[in-house]
Structures are given as C-alpha cells and as structure tokens.
Amino acid sequence: MEVGLFVPCYVDQLAPGVGLAAAEVLERVGCRVVWEPRQTCCGQPFLNSGAAREAKRLACAHLERFARFEAVVCPSASCVATVRRHYGEIGVGLGPEGLRVRERTFELGEFLVRRLGRVDVGARFPHRVALLPSCHGLRELGLGSPSERVGATPGPTEQLLRAVSGLELVFPSRRDECCGFGGAFSVEFPVVSGRMGRDGVRALAETGAAWVTATDAGCLLHLDGIRRRLGAGPAPIHLAEILAAREGP
C-alpha cells in the first residue's frame, strides 16, 4: 500500500527522529512511504487558538497535498484529530473529496492495528516504559479507553506496546491525566502548565520507568523540558521510535 507520510511541522523541525521512525515502521510492515515535500502544517495551532481564517487556509492546502494517497499516516495524534475531527468546525473538508482525505488520515498506531491488523511489528525495546496517553488521541481518536468511562478495553497504543519484545509497560497513578502541554496553552499559561507538567513528571518517575512514551511529540517535548528543569524523571521516547527499535537483549 502506498502511504502518504504526514510529518507535522513541529515534528519536522523539533523531533525529526519521530518522522523517520514512523517511516521505518511503515516500511517494515510493507508500505511504500511517500513524503509529500510541500506539506507544512495542518493548521492545528491556529485552530486551537481561534485563528479560524489562518487555520482554514492551511487546512485547505493540507487536504489538497494529501488528496492522492490511499492512506495518510501521521505520528502525531493531535494533528490527526485536527484533520479528522475539527476541520469540519471551520468549514473545511466537508465535500466528498475533502471527507475522503480526512477519513483516510490515521495516527500511526491506529493505522497499524485497525487498518493493517498488525499488533506485532517486530520491535524490541527491553526497558520499563510508562505510557502517557496523549489526550487528543485518547479522547478524540479513541486510541485507548479514557478513565472517565466505564468498561476499559485497551486501544491500539497499548496493544502495540504490549507486543514489543522485552518491554515492560507501566502507567502513572492517574493513567490519563493531561501532561499540561496543550500547544499555545503551555506558553500562555506557564504557571498552570508547569504545575501540570511537574505533577506529571513526578507521577511518571514514581513508576520507576526509564522511559515515557506518548503518541504526540508535543507532550514529550514539554515533559522533557520539565524533566530537565527538575533534574529527574523518565526520558521521552515517541511510540514510533519504540516501534522502530530493534535493540539487542
């Protein structure tokens, strides 16, 4: 299958390894990965800050650039949620062509599990890893069962991690408390965001995990920044990077 790799702007600039890892995993499971060079940003930061006009402009361009792919895969849950769940709110992607692209846009893990039916991607990562489910993936894309709801069934993120050889999966005491990133929120409300982040890092550290993983690199950049300031806490690693890992025993 030919897959359009959707590398969000912040991954492109700040966490390039995540994009490469996603490509590697997709190729490993037999996809032909195409990176469309004119892609920039899906518009999420603008949509989230109420700049609808700017968001619209970027959203339209985004849909156009990915129109030709059978599937669009992205290692960032919040960007996928933006395309799939929120474009409609600003009147973008409501026509048949736009809807087609939106419906075919997947977060990496959900694409592997729900579209390809692959849980084991041949990864090995013999470490204790704490999972911090990124909120948009959890509650808007259903990549797991949020703790607010009754009847939890593990979603694709957890299924994939459990199939990684040698990996010990652990959870912080509040399994899906927001880490406090929230894009512009983190810089406009640094006091509150910092408090959320410090609580998050401390709870993650209590699990004894060496690593913390998430489906959004944004959460991880924030937690890493907090960890560096606190001087303790698990190191960040994106889900794609774990799935790409083939460490020895």
């Binding site: 600039q13 892609q39 300031r229």
Partner: protein, 454 residues
C-alpha cells in the same frame, strides 16, 4: 503579558505544596465519582438519555416553562420572571421588605452568586446568612465560593479554625473538622429558628407537577423551607425537566457525578407552599436566552451543576476556583462566562485549557465542553493582539513551503539564543516553566532527502 488566570493561579495557590493539597482534595471527588459510576451498570445509558432529554427540553423550553408556571401556580406558588440579575435582586428584595423580613437564611444557589444577591440585600439592611457550611465559611471570609459543590475546598482546616475563632468564638487553635462543624451548627441553629424568610436555589423544576427539587447533604435548605413561613426559590430558566420519570434520571446522575454519593442525603420536592406559608419562585434569564439562541453554545444550558468537570479539570485543580474570577469556575464556568457576563476579562478563560477533553468525558449530560471552549476561541477575539499578529505571521510562513523551510533553518541557527533567558526572548513563555529541548539537529525534511538520495 501573562493572562489573568495564570497570574491569579500563582496568588491563589502560591506554591507546589498548596497546589498538591488542592489538587488532591478535588481529585478525590473525581475518584469517588469514578467508583460510583463503575457501580452502576447503566450509567452510560443514563448519561446518553440525560443528554437527549436536556436537548429536548431546551428545544421546547417555552412550553415547559409555561407548563411549570401553570402547575406551580395551581399548587399555590407565586411565579415571578426576571430578565436579568437586577430584576431578580429587586423581586427578592421587595418580597422580603414587603413582609418585613430582615433576617434571612439562605441555602446554596449559584444563581444568587451570579446575580450578586447577598450584597444587594445587605445594602438594604437585610441580614442574609448562608447556611451551607462551605458557603458560611466563604461568607465569613468575605470571599466568593471557589467550587460550585464544595465552596470552601480551597481553605485548610487551620484557616477555618482561625476564622471561626474570630467570628464564632471557638477556642484558639481549634482545627478539628468535627468540632468546627459542631460550632457552626450551634451558631446556625438559632439563626434558623429566628429567620423570617428562606432563600434557596433549585436543582430541578418539574414541569408536569409544578414541583421544585432541592438537593442538599446537610439538610440546611430543608430547615429553611420548613421553619420560616416565607420561602423564595431562585432558578435559571434552564432548570426544567419534563416529568418525574426524567427527574429520576437526573437524580440518579447528579450526586454520583458530584461526590460519588448514590443520592444526596436530602432530596425534597416542594409543590406549593406549606399550610399557612408562602412560596415564591423567581425564574431568571440573565443572558441564558442568548446561549439558547446560539446553535453552538445552547448545549451549555444542559448543565446540572454537578461539578464533575471542575473535579476532573487539571487546570482548575492547579489554578484554584478563584483564578477564574467568575461565580462558576472550571470548564463549565469558562463556557458560560463569555455569554453571561459582560466583563472582558472572562473572555480569555476559554484559552485557559489544554483541551484535554476530560471535562467532556465526565459530563453526565454530554456537554462537549472542550469543543465549546474551542468554539469560544473562534468567536470571541480574546487573544491578545500580539498573539493574533504572531498567528498571522506564522500562517503566512507556513502557507509557503519554501519560506517555511527557510524559517526552520533560521530557528536552528537561533536555537542557542532561544535556550537562554533574556528579556524579549520569543521562547520566554516556554522557558518560564521548562527548558528548551536539546538542539534538534537537521530537520526531518533534510534527513529524509539525504536518506532517499541514491
């Protein structure tokens, strides 16, 4: 440049210890809610039904208001309508003054907080005593409630002990919650017995029967409704439920979502005045019809004030209720405030969220709270001008792939500069709470091209 909620959060809860205490106390309610919900197999079905009934009611609100009014009148209640807070306060004031009632006991009502009823009545020489323990605490402290269900959750026992020592003459240093509660009880009992009127809020109004429903754990509203002869009940237009079957539905959800109790200790249905007494109902709009008229925001009127969204909100728990500067704090407060108050400061409240969506997931009536916050961000030009300009500039760059990549290269060059603290550093907001990550190296685009090069 910091937005009001963030600045107030620091004043409200000055350090990480204060934050941890507040966070733990509030999150405990969320845990209790989770346990209660898990014990009720049909909770999710009830929740979906509650959402449907509320939407139906809002869609037929005029019919239900008129039906309620007719049935309540037939039962002997007097029904008043108030267009805004001022009209509400005037009606209550006149009812009290005409009957010479100068000593009034009041049970919890977020509506009267919203309308500023207490100061209004006090300015006219009427003594209003809040009788819910938490409300009494904040009343004695002359501060607003910080939570709609547990108004004094931001105060520690020591502070309350000191407050009671000053106002109620409790022994100095007394901080035991059991003994402090007993002192409050002894102070309030004679006030109940001497009260000439009672003011209460309303949890639900049943259209079919003309009944008012009042829920408390302390029984304070009931003491008010049974002791003085005059009872004034204040409610927003959105409190209507069609019939008793629907009331059962909401009662099964309310306390479970609020505190994890299966039902509040006392749930009273008042249909008409008691023999020899008077019952007045004041139905208030105060901006609610503006919400009703908005296709995007009318859902916010479905709220039953359980407080679950506050308890789960990671921002509320770490900022404290007073940081919102509104009568209702938390996600629902931030959703209601831009429609219900003219104060421009509240317009930035919808920005004070990471949009984690936990509020929407706990809401027992299915309000898409974080979606509402997002919608307000689009509608109200709340963001400071500097942000709007930054957005415009960034979008202009991102719309042109070549410019975008060029600015990425610039960002990499500037990285060491951004990582350091200096006035005017554009990364200042980031650095205020955390370090910049290590230099990311070459961009994905550059590495991809290199990797794919033959």
């Amino acid at each position: 440049m910091r937005l009001p909620l963030d600045a107030r959060a620091r004043v409200n809860l000055p350090d990480d210890r204060a934050v941890a205490r507040h966070d733990a106390a509030v999150f405990d309610l969320r845990r209790r809610r989770d346990a209660a919900v898990a014990a009720l197999p049909e909770f999710e079905a009830l929740r979906q039904r509650a959402a449907a009934v509320k939407r139906h009611v809002l869609d037929h609100l005029d019919l239900y208001l008129e039906r309620f009014e007719a049935r309540a009148r037939a039962a002997g209640a007097v029904v008043h309508f108030a267009g805004d807070a001022a009209a509400h306060n005037r009606i209550v004031e006149e009812l009290l003054l005409e009957r010479g009632a100068r000593r009034v006991v009041k049970s919890k009502s977020m509506l009267t907080e919203e309308c500023g009823l207490n100061p209004h009545l006090e300015a006219r020489g009427i003594e209003v005593v809040d009788t819910d323990l938490g409300e009494r605490i904040v009343q004695l402290r002359r501060e607003p409630p910080s939570h709609i269900v547990v108004p004094a959750i931001h105060r520690r026992r020591g502070e309350i002990g000191e407050l009671f020592h000053r106002h109620l003459g409790t022994p100095a240093g007394e901080s035991d919650p059991v003994r402090l509660t007993e002192h409050a009880r002894r102070d309030l009992r004679p006030r109940f017995l001497a009260a000439q009127a009672a003011i209460s809020g309303v949890n639900f109004a049943v259209a079919e029967t003309g009944s008012l429903v009042v829920c408390t754990n302390e029984g304070n509203a009931d003491l008010g409704m049974t002791l003085p002869g005059l009872h004034v009940a204040c409610m927003g237009i959105e409190k209507l439920v069609p019939d008793l079957d629907d009331l059962a539905l909401f009662l099964r959800l309310l306390a479970r979502s609020a505190t994890g109790q299966p039902i509040t200790a006392y749930t009273t249905l008042v249909t008409g005045p008691r023999p020899g007494g008077e019952l007045h109902v004041v139905i208030v709009d105060n901006g609610r019809t503006r919400l009703l008229a908005s296709p995007t925001h009318r859902d916010a009127l479905a709220c039953i004030r359980c407080g679950a969204c506050l308890n789960t909100c990671p921002v509320y728990r770490r900022a404290g209720g007073h940081a919102y500067g509104t009568s209702v704090a938390g996600p629902i407060g931030a959703v209601l405030a831009p429609a219900l108050t003219a104060d421009p400061a509240v317009r930035t409240l919808p920005l004070a969220s990471s949009l984690c969506g936990s509020c929407s997931a706990v809401c027992p009536v299915g309000i898409d709270l974080h979606g509402q916050l997002l919608a307000w961000r689009r509608e109200v030009p709340a963001a400071p001008a500097r942000l709007r300009w930054a957005a415009r500039l960034a979008a202009a760059l991102l719309a042109r792939p070549t410019l975008y990549r060029a600015s990425g290269r610039l960002l990499r060059l500037a990285w060491p500069l951004l990582a350091r603290r200096w006035p005017g550093n554009p990364a200042g907001g980031w650095l205020a709470a955390r370090e910049l990550p290590p230099h990311p190296g070459a961009s994905f685009a550059a590495r991809w091209r290199r990797r794919r090069a033959p």
